[in-house]
Symmetry: D3
Subunit: 293 residues, 6 copies
Amino acid sequence: MRFDEAYSGNVFIKSHPNFEESEAVIYGMPMDWTVSYRPGSRFGPARIREVSIGLEEYSPYLDRELGEVKYFDAGDIPLPFGNAQRSLDLIEEFVDRVLAADKFPLGLGGEHLVSWPVMKAVYKKYPDLAIIHMDAHTDLREHYEGEPLSHATPIRKIAELIGPQNVYSFGIRSGMKEEFEWAKENGMYIAKFEVLEPLKEVLPTLAGRPVYVTIDIDVLDPAHAPGTGTVDAGGITSKELLAAIHEIARSDVRVVGADLVEVAPIYDHSEQTANTASKLIREMILGWVQKRK
Amino acid sequence: MRFDEAYSGNVFIKSHPNFEESEAVIYGMPMDWTVSYRPGSRFGPARIREVSIGLEEYSPYLDRELGEVKYFDAGDIPLPFGNAQRSLDLIEEFVDRVLAADKFPLGLGGEHLVSWPVMKAVYKKYPDLAIIHMDAHTDLREHYEGEPLSHATPIRKIAELIGPQNVYSFGIRSGMKEEFEWAKENGMYIAKFEVLEPLKEVLPTLAGRPVYVTIDIDVLDPAHAPGTGTVDAGGITSKELLAAIHEIARSDVRVVGADLVEVAPIYDHSEQTANTASKLIREMILGWVQKRK
Amino acid sequence: MRFDEAYSGNVFIKSHPNFEESEAVIYGMPMDWTVSYRPGSRFGPARIREVSIGLEEYSPYLDRELGEVKYFDAGDIPLPFGNAQRSLDLIEEFVDRVLAADKFPLGLGGEHLVSWPVMKAVYKKYPDLAIIHMDAHTDLREHYEGEPLSHATPIRKIAELIGPQNVYSFGIRSGMKEEFEWAKENGMYIAKFEVLEPLKEVLPTLAGRPVYVTIDIDVLDPAHAPGTGTVDAGGITSKELLAAIHEIARSDVRVVGADLVEVAPIYDHSEQTANTASKLIREMILGWVQKRK
Amino acid sequence: MRFDEAYSGNVFIKSHPNFEESEAVIYGMPMDWTVSYRPGSRFGPARIREVSIGLEEYSPYLDRELGEVKYFDAGDIPLPFGNAQRSLDLIEEFVDRVLAADKFPLGLGGEHLVSWPVMKAVYKKYPDLAIIHMDAHTDLREHYEGEPLSHATPIRKIAELIGPQNVYSFGIRSGMKEEFEWAKENGMYIAKFEVLEPLKEVLPTLAGRPVYVTIDIDVLDPAHAPGTGTVDAGGITSKELLAAIHEIARSDVRVVGADLVEVAPIYDHSEQTANTASKLIREMILGWVQKRK
Amino acid sequence: MRFDEAYSGNVFIKSHPNFEESEAVIYGMPMDWTVSYRPGSRFGPARIREVSIGLEEYSPYLDRELGEVKYFDAGDIPLPFGNAQRSLDLIEEFVDRVLAADKFPLGLGGEHLVSWPVMKAVYKKYPDLAIIHMDAHTDLREHYEGEPLSHATPIRKIAELIGPQNVYSFGIRSGMKEEFEWAKENGMYIAKFEVLEPLKEVLPTLAGRPVYVTIDIDVLDPAHAPGTGTVDAGGITSKELLAAIHEIARSDVRVVGADLVEVAPIYDHSEQTANTASKLIREMILGWVQKRK
Amino acid sequence: MRFDEAYSGNVFIKSHPNFEESEAVIYGMPMDWTVSYRPGSRFGPARIREVSIGLEEYSPYLDRELGEVKYFDAGDIPLPFGNAQRSLDLIEEFVDRVLAADKFPLGLGGEHLVSWPVMKAVYKKYPDLAIIHMDAHTDLREHYEGEPLSHATPIRKIAELIGPQNVYSFGIRSGMKEEFEWAKENGMYIAKFEVLEPLKEVLPTLAGRPVYVTIDIDVLDPAHAPGTGTVDAGGITSKELLAAIHEIARSDVRVVGADLVEVAPIYDHSEQTANTASKLIREMILGWVQKRK
């Protein structure tokens, strides 16, 4: 992790060398210690950066180039292996600094629990925050086998903090019955199975509001994202996820921060998952960063 | 394999410990010795069970939980490696016992030939049986390079036994010209390339009839099921296959047994195929088991 | 490589043993030395042939069998490793001989640069040639980091030779801004993201014209073709690509040659990419070879 | 985890169904959340059991069969993902019960930190305990980047508890300078690079003493154990490790417990590491269990 | 399979195009249907040939070149999938023809059971035959779970046919107690664990006798041959196996045939096993073929 | 590539941020376009750096730490894909600058041909240069299928430049007969198969002389280095290669530069090859850099 000091890791393609001059900050949250199934997303941020060299800088979807946006890559936040609470504290502290400098936080996971301290920090700055959440899983558990700090709980935590009616989940196809019932009873929006069509309906209702977008790569079908901890059939295509990103870019919401989590490279021999993630990040930079104003 | 005795292998998530009290019986048929291309489906049943621990018990598609159905996992039927005839006899004998106890047989393959003795046993109990067959391949050969016991022949065998007009194939995109011609000449139904739409047309015509459903995982496109012996482009998505299972669940047919075959884990580094198979099995349990009455 | 002499490599299923009697000639161009990202497509042709033994000879899409077309498999053209210019010269020389014998050239890559000398040779025979190009990438660069002989340049080269208005690209989702602008300014057709629908519009305008079709396997989504050098999310399905091949087969264009490039087996553990490629080749043989007259 | 209750996971080949009647207890410690490099050893115990079905029951090295020893497989201890301290407490509690019942604890890791609570429990029972430690790494850190509960610290912890002069490390080829110096200054035995020859010298000095043996699979060269978190060149062969196990079996020490840790299956496509581990466990059962008396 | 007819598969490097003029015949036996553990050796022969193009023709061990020996590659014997008895009959029949033409049979497996009909055929021609057997496993079972035709039985069968005192096994490190006892009681030679040193002792006693050598690739340690069905730790290195081949080449025995079996490519991502096998075949050709006279 | 400018790629662990102040310079030569078999070594340098974060800084072999040596990591030299001659010119030019600044060049390949311009540059500075070459292959060809710039030729080129009697090859186990004969006739030293023992004999004869050491990772057995283009059985262990590096470190030769080439990560799923390479580089830094004086 760095702000101004020298740094020796690899960075996302075309990132700007100076923190102060940048509009957005990319940072990795290499944590995977609370996952209940397959670990490995700690290596997601580094691999996404590494394969970004294969990207074109130009997006034919948005007709913009990476050179049009200044973003700084801060590297990975150094997290204490196996200590969930301290890791979350360090992440929150880091994002506080990014927001204090009025920059767009663009986080790379790591397991989904890392989004919890980020969203908490963003909420401190934007009290009328709404969350757009794309995922295969509800992530609405109170705890997982007794542990309140678990990759299955981040959306529950943020929903309880900012009010469930301000959280919008899309593409959900897995969860406990109790989670779906809790959402229903508490007025939280869940679009099961689909992303693009329900998103088109929701976006106009959020016009003008600050929105944080958290994307779990497993909202994609395993065919499109085999490199993740929990693969779950019946997901959307990468074409649909790209379209969803562009739909948000063309909408009237103010995107004030975003993350992409759960890329676990070891399960994907072809590296298509990391490559797809790096393309999604490019589209998020080109489509969302200027929208926070 | 077990009925009541102690068992030391792994079992499908939430399976019931007692055979007698269960409505359905899961069993593996770890045979792959007649396949003409890539072997390895003998390890399919064990891997499907192993990854089932990653499944949620609740289906947001059907709004039901695994706890609502009692199913017993009998483990794998021990089959003599390389002896096709004896293997088939042992499978038939096992399924006879399951049916005699009036339980729903839910088989895991193994190569597709294992479905032949199962369907034969089911037909003995249900003489007005119809077969719903989802597959990339016709499997209508009389023999394969001289061998009548081959993974390329099971649908021909059952069609000859129960009458070709009682067999409905969906999603077929590969076969010899002679196989398609035989089907046509003998009044057997084949929906080429597609599953869901033709299924919606066929199901009403089978209302009230006992139906056995046999699914070769390669009906899925290789993108969705790389872990199988014969990958063949142009298949359906896992979303479409899930929808097909739910369509049957909501129809008026009586599902009296089912199988899912040809999962070969070694060809799928990400294990998405086994994970998808375990999800399909969950949906089959929740959607079909109560339908045999 | 062979014309009449004895050959000891493997060949595409059902290929005809005699060059003179054949209508079409399959040949490999095992070159990958100018690729900027992941090499390995030199092994594409051999692997496509190897897995072709798993293919059925019959196409249920076209209702034709491989036995109905005579095609000779000439093996791989021996190319000097690391010498791009000499490799291209050898390819052009080979294709000149194929065309002089009035046979349909059906090439297997290898990186996309190999299509450049092929198209040049075809153009010499058919001065009113049009190119149908399916790809994720524009391939319209003048040079790549100073090298004019690069896998990123073949379409630019052929466009400059035969006129940009005679080149039709489909499925493009990646390129530099300058490449898209060059195409626009020079009247070259580019269908972004989609293949089938724009193809249906273009084909009637090419009725009666000689057409060469060059397919980069990465026009497919990485889910359908993980085994390639540059994976890029948001592509089409194998079902759609098959439909595009059949659309051309049913159109009034005269297909006078074709290639399929960029299959790099090492990145695809399940070998679905090579299997898909071999099925595509079968459909190209059955659908296109007779169309050159 | 189980003592007497019904259990539905897979077990090590030929394990005895009854806890009370058994001499030894196999148990898994599926924890990998403090590792600093590659996680995945949580799946080690399950995979070692799974592949044990490929083992012969007879050891031609020791001329004994598994049927001659009664050992119970208790399954994996359920550990709270991401909570290191509670995990260690649960392990210690479990081993306390095993020792209270006077059985030989034979543990499967998981990361090496799991050995710490086991050794602590064994020390409570055997105050004159010595430790034989085979590993590529010293594991003598006080903390790892501030975390005292880390996979890099277990040997330091046990050395401080029982006295460094009672700990014997073999095969060490990696560590910080400070770790080697600490060992030297505190009279702890370290055999660098080699295992068998120094072991032959040490064993007679431990005659009659209770000894706990902890083996990190990475004491093997990566060629022999690629499936582990931290691969480090220059290790010993599996032949040498087998010989070391047999040397202990033939010595006069009293082995009172043992573990084998750090098998991480995902990094080993051939599964040789898990297969080797299951063979090592067989030899440990046949060679060591009876030696605790 | 071919004798004189045209052939379209790949062949071992530098093989001679004419059967009649050749001294030796390479042939594949692509059978794996009786294996009890991991199948896949049916693809061994094809892959060994494929990677042989990477071999140098010259052996610096023997100072000979492949051009000095004429050997014909007959391709794979077409075997009926899943029919063990017919497969063995076809193999025996093929080898009978090779021997009738007075050529050296050099077979590629396939599972080890394929060696049984080969050795039977060789014995018919050489009644004073001795067998040199290098393997991790005894392969001395009478049957495997009731099946007499099993990959665990070929050495028992040949020992019973030619007399156990004429069979010499090396490198054995796995088997049932009964198998070792049977060997001992019947005067069959077994060198446990080691190959080279015991071989040096045995060879002089076989001087002048016709010897058939059967090598199971799993005699190598899994580090050196991960691509095989049953990996078993504690084996020899490839350097030692090469030395054993050369020791035989320099001895006074008459090698009258040989095979190399159990290469299963799918388990070895690096393809080192197939590459090693192709090198071993080269050394066998250069060292043994001329020794049958 | 960088000298003083900002750099955004990853670097070898503990490298010094300043070129001027460093004693040694690490640089990558990501070229693989002339290889005749499997490409992919272009990614070797980047992967070696990436996994270096898993290394300890201390060597228990040499009792030194990385902090004791200042070395700068210049990143990869940007090479024009597919243009061998220009690539070699750029490498030579880069090494000229390193040598002009009186620093130790420590190169990472890339295919072995990259060593040729490096050795040429070193020779210009040290006219009494000797070469120590560890490799499975002679690399003494004049050309490869007509191409003089080939990965099979670098040792021939340097031998012709500095005189064959000044080149010492170790571990050689593959090559054409003509290559071995050329070496013999021209007085070049070749130690077949072995490294350590012959090295011990040669080193004293080179006392005081400037020596460049070039190591092809395939001198290791495939068991120890599966991730390389050409795997060849019968090599040495990583333990032996480490010992050879230490033997040179303790000798009286003046090591004036070195390289490690042919690491091709894609063929090694466990990444043991890259990890081993990074350890070898550490030992080369600690053992050799100070020896150039």
